[in-house]
Symmetry: C2
Subunit: 141 residues, 2 copies
Amino acid sequence: MKLTSKGRYAVMALVDLARFDNINPVSLRDISLRQGISLDYLEQIFSKLKKNEIVKSIRGTQGGYVLNKNPNDIKLTNIFNAVDEKVKTVQCKKESKRGCNGKATKCITHNLWDELELHINTFFENKSLKDLLNNNKESRV
Amino acid sequence: MKLTSKGRYAVMALVDLARFDNINPVSLRDISLRQGISLDYLEQIFSKLKKNEIVKSIRGTQGGYVLNKNPNDIKLTNIFNAVDEKVKTVQCKKESKRGCNGKATKCITHNLWDELELHINTFFENKSLKDLLNNNKESRV
DNA sequence: ACATACCTGACCAAAATGGTCAAGTTTAGA
DNA sequence: TCTAAACTTGACCATTTTGGTCAGGTATGT
């Protein structure tokens, strides 16, 4: 059970963006340099963030990205959904008619995984970009 | 962020085992049939569970596996650790001296991932095999 | 017009996942 | 004592996911 770096990068980049986009649009190049994330990879990630209306892009010289919402209204849930970092505990959800192993019953631990998913998602829903900004004053190592 | 089936299978198998091992040792073949998990794969999983003293094996005809502890004392944490299903949010933990991206600072969201790990692990530590047994009376679909 | 920055899609290597296969060893019971 | 059931070990492997790179674009401020 692990977090993929696409999800991590998306959050890191957005925190970075939130810190600097008051003044000017922030170029991916800057984020890339500051956060140590490959520029090409960032472009993929921001393409998705844009589709999900979390950021806006401004083209041309001095262009870059800007948040499209108040940091308080951008929850981790929104970010993770945007980059397809979903919390998946069981696959059997889709075949809704049937039980889990093709049998007529739910798999013996089905309720547990539902609980787990809920537990994690609750965490993501209660955490906004703003929380992260506040929480990040004293992070020197 | 997803749960691997090794972890899921381990829990499913142990719940199955806990239900039936009062009378006789339970063979992997039976678990395989009841839970729809490949026998060969179960063997890999139980080899790890045994090393971690969660189950005992009894060889020979009519042999099989038995729980090695009270269901109340087997937490999800123990099971997941046994089969290497760890919760990993950041890689940067190991290089403890340095920060995250090889820089002198923690990555901007480091605290967040720590919190998340804690949040998930707490769930696993508070859940025992016994809880699952009780919770599983009415699981028909 | 040109540099900067976004945009798009193809491509790819490495690791993880989710197993299978083969060849044992051990032991209860007929 | 023979044999079948069951555990044991370790090699192997196909597929998917991950974490990118590369090669081209297109838009726009100056």
